[in-house]
């Protein structure tokens, strides 16, 4: 029995070599051993204490090491969590930035916010800040063509660099195609409305020098035609924002939306610079006198 207990203690001691074992565990084991064998192990006590002390020293060294390892592990966990948190924050920031950008577009395209005078209409349709080539290459009724914005999204989705774009969902690709289809129809309807005004203006605005018309009465007719054009421009602006909002909020993920918004701005900027250079290089448009002949 003694041999057994001694063997047990030895085992404990050997076990305590294992640095992985907690000190508490060793002590609990020693207490259990003492309770179990009572006085029979009294003579062993000294040896045991010795052993415990010995074990204690070993456990203390093991404790340091494991604590170090543990704290390292904890630190690593903490770092990773911090990184995750940072990523989350970036995502929230990204969401905020996208929302901000959308709000900018909302304000820009919101005609209801701005008081429009008759003379502003020409500026809305052919803005001075845009060189002619920029207007010719991308614009429709004075700003980006809504379906072209969506074509841009589709182009990005198809290009290899942004393989994540739309790839996660076949449904989204379908949604985008539907959106492009519908937007084109709405553009055509607005085109027709504008054509109707441009085609009938000659019937509504009259300049007949023989009658006693004042400038004021002609201005009245012009005002009413320009009101119609202003309404068409408003519809076009609403369609632009609708396309942009739908694609950013419903079709694209946050990252893809951000990628789209970056490309949207970047391409517009590139076109603008290019058109401005072109305008400088070409100078005012000319016509060949020789080809014109006598006229």
């Amino acid at each position: 029995m003694k041999g057994g207990s001694s063997q047990l203690l030895q085992n404990i001691c050997e076990d305590s070599d294992s640095e992985e074992r907690e000190q508490d565990e060793g002590m609990a084991m020693a207490r259990r051993v003492t309770d179990e064998y009572g006085d029979e192990v009294d003579d062993m006590r000294e040896k045991f204490q010795c052993l415990v002390l010995h074990k204690h020293e070993k456990a203390k060294r093991g404790e340091d090491l494991s604590r170090e390892k543990h704290s390292l592990w904890r630190q690593e966990l903490k770092n990773r969590a911090e990184r995750l948190e940072k990523q989350l924050k970036t995502r929230w920031e990204l969401e905020e930035l996208i929302e901000e950008q959308l709000n900018r577009f909302r304000a820009h395209y919101n005609r209801a916010m701005v008081r429009t005078l008759p003379k502003d209409v020409a500026q809305l349709l052919m803005p001075n800040w845009a060189p002619p080539q920029e207007l010719a290459s991308l614009t429709w009724l004075g700003d980006w063509r809504p379906s072209a914005m969506l074509d841009l999204v589709r182009g990005l989705a198809r290009s290899s660099l942004s393989s994540s774009l739309l790839s996660d969902s076949v449904g989204n690709e379908k949604l985008l195609s539907q959106l492009i289809h519908d937007t084109r129809i709405e553009e055509a309807v607005i085109d027709e409305e504008m054509a109707e005004i441009q085609a009938t203006c000659i019937l509504h605005i009259s300049f007949t020098p023989m009658s006693n018309r004042s400038v004021g009465s002609a201005l009245g007719c012009i005002q009413s035609e320009f009101k119609k054009i202003e309404r068409v421009i408003t519809k076009a602006q609403n369609l632009r924002f609708k396309a942009l909002e739908l694609v950013v909020k419903k079709v694209l993920s946050k990252t893809d939306a951000a990628e789209f918004l970056v490309a949207f701005e970047g391409i517009q900027d590139a076109i603008h610079q290019l058109a401005a250079n072109q305008r400088l290089q070409k100078g005012p448009v000319t016509v060949s006198v020789k080809a014109l002949g006598c006229s």
Partner: protein, 276 residues
């Protein structure tokens, strides 16, 4: 570059100057001549003036075509047009429907004619104006338009209904094509603007070629509608038509009206939150 500009100056001139001269001839010479000959009983003179005015319009479209090879974008968005004219421009000039609508207004309003040689109300540009002491032929020009004329106008309108949306569609497609090419370039350059600009430049050049072809087609449409109308109408009808057209063009550039228009402070909309 400057040297290039000077050498070009000899053989070519700014379209803006051309247009200004063209407009002044219309306003100060051809329109008064036509007005004069409308009151003149000589049909030969009227016929000559109608032909001159028609030729003047045709030569303008010819000049637009010629200039388009230099820079079509400036012709599509002409800065020599005033803020009153610009909103009425479709692919750089009047909408071809404008010509057919003007001729329709003569045809449809025939009921309003008063059968009185000395006090005739004629509809020009949608408004009645009075022609006193006009030759009977002018007064009666639109009294009973011929079946042949009606059929021709129907045909022209029918053709326009097919071709105008097709042109609008081509513009959209050209722009969509540019976007497609640009995105490829953009992705290829991985968003580096400087590099992207060079490649995008090539894509824009391709699109501008298509815009030239579109602009030429739009002008061809305008030219042919004009020519159809002149050939289908009698000299008196044509005279009234061209008078209406020229008066509209000149009216939109009337300095008094334009300055009044520029100063107009009546808003077109009621803003919900007026901008400060």
């Amino acid at each position: 570059m400057l040297k290039g500009l000077f050498t070009r100056k000899k053989s070519s001139r700014p379209f803006k100057d051309y247009y200004s001269d063209w407009f002044n001839i219309l306003k100060n010479t051809l329109l008064p001549l036509l007005r004069c000959s409308i009151s003149d009983p000589s049909p030969t003179l009227l016929s000559t003036h109608v032909e001159m005015l028609h030729h003047h319009f045709q030569s303008y479209y010819h000049a637009l075509d010629l200039a388009s090879s230099h820079d079509v974008a400036q012709l599509l968005f002409p800065d020599w047009r005033n803020s009153l004219e610009k909103p009425f421009l479709w692919l750089g000039d009047f909408h071809p429907y404008l010509f057919t609508n003007l001729i329709r207004s003569f045809i449809n309003e025939t009921d309003k004619y008063i059968d009185d040689k000395d006090d005739v109300l004629i509809n020009v540009g949608g408004e009645n104006c009075e022609f006193f002491d006009k030759p009977w032929e002018i007064a009666m020009a639109w009294r009973a338009p011929s079946k042949i004329l009606m059929t021709r106008i129907d045909q022209v309108e029918c053709g326009l209904r097919l071709m105008v949306p097709a042109l609008a569609n081509r513009v959209r497609k050209a722009q969509a094509g540019l976007v497609e090419r640009m995105v490829e370039d953009w992705v290829w350059c991985q968003g580096r603007k400087e590099t992207a600009r060079t490649v995008i430049g090539e894509a824009v050049a391709v699109e501008m070629e298509e815009m030239v072809s579109l602009f030429l087609d739009a002008n061809r449409l305008r030219r042919s509608v004009l020519a159809e109308i002149i050939s289908a109408t009698s000299v008196y009808q044509a005279a009234l038509f061209l008078l209406g057209l020229a008066q509209f063009l000149v009216g939109l550039r009337d300095p008094a009206l334009v300055s009044e228009f520029e100063r107009c402070k009546t808003p077109l909309n009621k803003p919900s939150h007026p901008a400060l």
